[in-house]
């Protein structure tokens, strides 16, 4: 098993005919993901290296039975693309688009909650999701993900930062530790999927035996996750929080990462996680070593 996506997940790519969409869509397909169609308004009837392109998500879904979508369109068009996918019956939407205005994100998220409560949005501004050996939706280089072993133990990864998601995959691969699913939730102000959503799924997934969580400064998502872990997660966890040395009041790259008014500091987040029984590393490599110890204990 894996969470959210597996070998049976049929995926369409909204924006398949664009530069990024084509590159990553084809890479996802080459990895073994069932990339069954692309959607670009006005380009219906064409194809991208054998993948048929449709004018609308509804047409693509009717023709292929897809249930997941990979949204890789510019910021201006992203909200409409997400809502189009939801309206067409897609139940899992991965949006990697970076730079969507916060007001659009807030409106889109709340529209989904209200009108399409069963639809899950991952992102925006996230690297995507990979269930190694089964399905890879997004921009993760598949070869850095260690396959899960049939006998276990396997680790689930959830991360708020894109590149640190890859770093976590890499740390586990170096140690030969299998990964059940790796989810990058993205660092934007209104992420569709939270740490808690992923932790709940990992807790319920029989193939996941331990969990790594990668957070960063800003907001209170890590503190909320710590509360949830305390009450609901029995699987062992390690974690890393980026931004210990970040100066207060400076936005570190994206809207999420800012320490303001003494809130959202790395130290506060690490303390909350430790208090919930999570082993916290000072850098990604240390979080990997701590996970290796956990896994050794499970074997």
């Amino acid at each position: 098993m894996a969470i959210f996506v597996d070998q049976n997940t049929k995926v369409i790519v909204q924006g398949l005919t664009g530069g990024q969409g084509k590159y990553h869509g084809l890479r996802n397909k080459a990895y073994g993901t069932q990339v069954v169609a692309g959607v670009t308004p006005g380009k219906g009837g064409t194809d991208v290296e054998g993948i048929p392109v449709y004018n609308s998500v509804a047409e693509a879904v009717a023709a292929t039975g897809a249930t997941a979508s990979f949204v890789t369109v510019p910021p201006k068009a992203a909200s409409a693309a997400i809502l189009e996918a939801a309206a067409a019956g897609i139940s899992f939407i991965v949006c990697i688009t970076e730079g969507i205005p916060a007001q659009d994100e807030a409106r889109t998220y709340n529209t989904l909650v209200r009108d399409f409560p069963k639809v899950r949005l991952l992102g925006p501004n996230c690297p995507g999701i990979i269930s190694p050996g089964k399905c890879n939706i997004g921009i993760t280089a598949g070869e850095i993900a260690e396959l899960p072993s049939a006998s276990g133990p396997n680790v689930g990864i959830v991360s708020r930062s894109g590149t640190l998601t890859y770093q976590a995959l890499y740390e586990l691969k170096q140690r030969g530790i299998g990964v059940s699913t790796c989810v990058g939730i993205g660092g934007d102000p209104v992420p569709g999927t939270s740490f808690i959503d992923c932790l709940r799924e990992f807790q319920n997934d029989p193939e996941t035996h331990a969990i790594i969580m990668i957070g960063e400064i800003g907001g209170s998502a890590e503190e909320e996750a710590a509360e949830f872990i305390k009450a609901n997660v029995t699987k062992p966890m390690s974690a890393y929080i980026a931004g210990v040395t970040a100066p207060a009041g400076k936005k570190m790259g994206h809207a999420g990462a800012i320490v303001s008014g003494g809130k959202g500091t790395a130290q506060g987040k690490m303390d909350a996680l430790r208090d919930a029984g999570v082993k916290v590393g000072q850098n990604p490599t240390e979080a990997g070593s701590l996970m290796a110890e956990i896994v050794a204990g499970l074997r």
């Binding site: 007001q103 790259g253 490599t285």
Partner: protein, 381 residues
């Protein structure tokens, strides 16, 4: 992007929020002209993006042109907590009966808009929150529903705004909410929101922070960008489209992704070094962007070594490598590079670097983030 008070007031005026008559001035003569136009008495206010202006002597009342001349002369060029005052805002002084507080932000935890409204205005809202939290109404607004006139009126009543001011406050709340949403603000705050003895409600201050991601639909933001206060390195980085923050250390940092960049700072710190900057070249960085990033780092005289930490996802290793080779041909880098390259097309990237004939004194490659950090820190010492 944070606006100065005068820009915030100009932005408010676009949404019909009542503000005092006034103008911005960069010289004493301009300040006098602005005061003459606004009508005496006037308030001369230092335009800096830092709290505590009043205490520092940056806000003064003037009854005539001579007083304006004196105050503007003192305030222009004044240093307030490290911010040099380049402009003053001169506005008609308002008679104040009462002071309230109103703001809209996005509550990330709740994923909804948040209205904060209080009849205790004119002081730092954090102070009110600490001493008398019951005095602040916190109301979540679903972004799909928005804020109606009736909703705003109910908020004014619930916040115990005196009856005589409720209608005026509610009207401003609706306008401020429109400014927040349509104006793509991260924060739209009025403190104090005043009631005049004559019964009108009016914004006496303006704190506005704009969402840079919405830049594409706001051509009117151009003029705000011109006044942004950045240091020389930050300015150069901005021109090149890079996310850069200048720091005080000696190891120049280039990484892809904000998380990895922050983590790189952390690791450099842990092995005993100090970072000269935060620089995220972002997703999909190409050769040209990498070359620009190196130019920006090279402009910082404090940099003794450069740590390039790349984990390719959307960023491709061969593009990074090409950028480094190009930059070495284009700029004479003063500091040696230590690179750690992984992820998408990392093999290709590494082989481009290995075959480019770059001497080891200029570039070394390390297999892990920790080893690269140690090497970069050693070179910086």
């Amino acid at each position: 992007m944070d606006l100065f008070e005068y820009q915030g007031k100009q932005y408010f005026a676009r949404y019909d929020i009542p503000v005092s008559k006034g103008d911005v001035a960069v010289t004493v003569d301009q300040a006098v002209a602005a005061a003459d136009a606004a009508g005496y008495p006037v308030v001369v206010k230092a335009q800096v993006q830092v709290g505590g202006r009043g205490k520092a002597g940056g806000i003064k009342l003037a009854n005539n042109a001579d007083e304006v001349r004196t105050h503007a002369g003192n305030i222009l060029g004044m240093d307030i907590k490290g911010h040099v005052v380049k402009r003053v805002w001169v506005e008609n002084a308002s008679d104040i009966a009462e002071e309230y507080y109103a703001s809209f932000t996005l509550d990330r935890g709740a994923k909804k808009h948040l209205l904060m409204l209080s009849k205790e205005g004119g002081v730092e809202i954090e102070e009110v929150a600490a001493t008398n939290p019951a005095a602040i109404l916190m109301l979540h607004i679903d972004p799909v529903d928005g804020l109606s006139a009736a909703g705003a009126m109910k908020a004014a009543v619930d916040a115990k705004i005196p009856e005589k001011a409720q209608q005026g406050v509610a009207d401003i709340l609706v306008k401020l909410y429109r400014c927040f949403v349509e104006g793509d603000c991260d924060l739209a705050e009025i403190n104090p929101l005043i009631l005049k003895p004559t019964g009108e409600v009016h914004a006496l201050d303006a704190k506005v922070s704009l969402d840079a991601n919405a830049d594409f639909r706001h051509p009117e933001w151009e003029e705000f960008k011109a006044t942004e206060e950045l240091d020389a390195r930050e300015k150069l980085a901005r021109e090149k489209g890079l996310q850069y923050i200048g720091l005080e250390g000696t190891v120049g940092i280039i990484a892809n992704g904000a998380g990895l960049a922050m983590s790189t700072l952390d690791v450099v710190n842990q092995v005993g070094g100090t970072a000269a900057n935060f620089l995220d070249i972002g997703g999909g960085a190409n050769a040209d962007l990498m070359a620009s990033a190196l130019e920006v780092i090279n402009s910082d005289k404090a940099v003794k070594s450069i740590f390039i930490n790349i984990f390719g996802g959307i960023t491709r290793g061969e593009e990074v490598a090409k950028g480094i080779v190009e930059a070495l041909g284009r700029v004479d880098l003063r500091a040696p590079i230590v690179i750690r390259l992984d992820g998408t097309n990392a093999e290709e990237g590494r082989s481009i670097l290995a075959n480019a004939g770059i001497p080891e004194s200029k570039l070394t490659s390390k297999p892990t983030m920790l080893e690269a950090a140690e090497a970069a820190v050693a070179l910086a010492k």
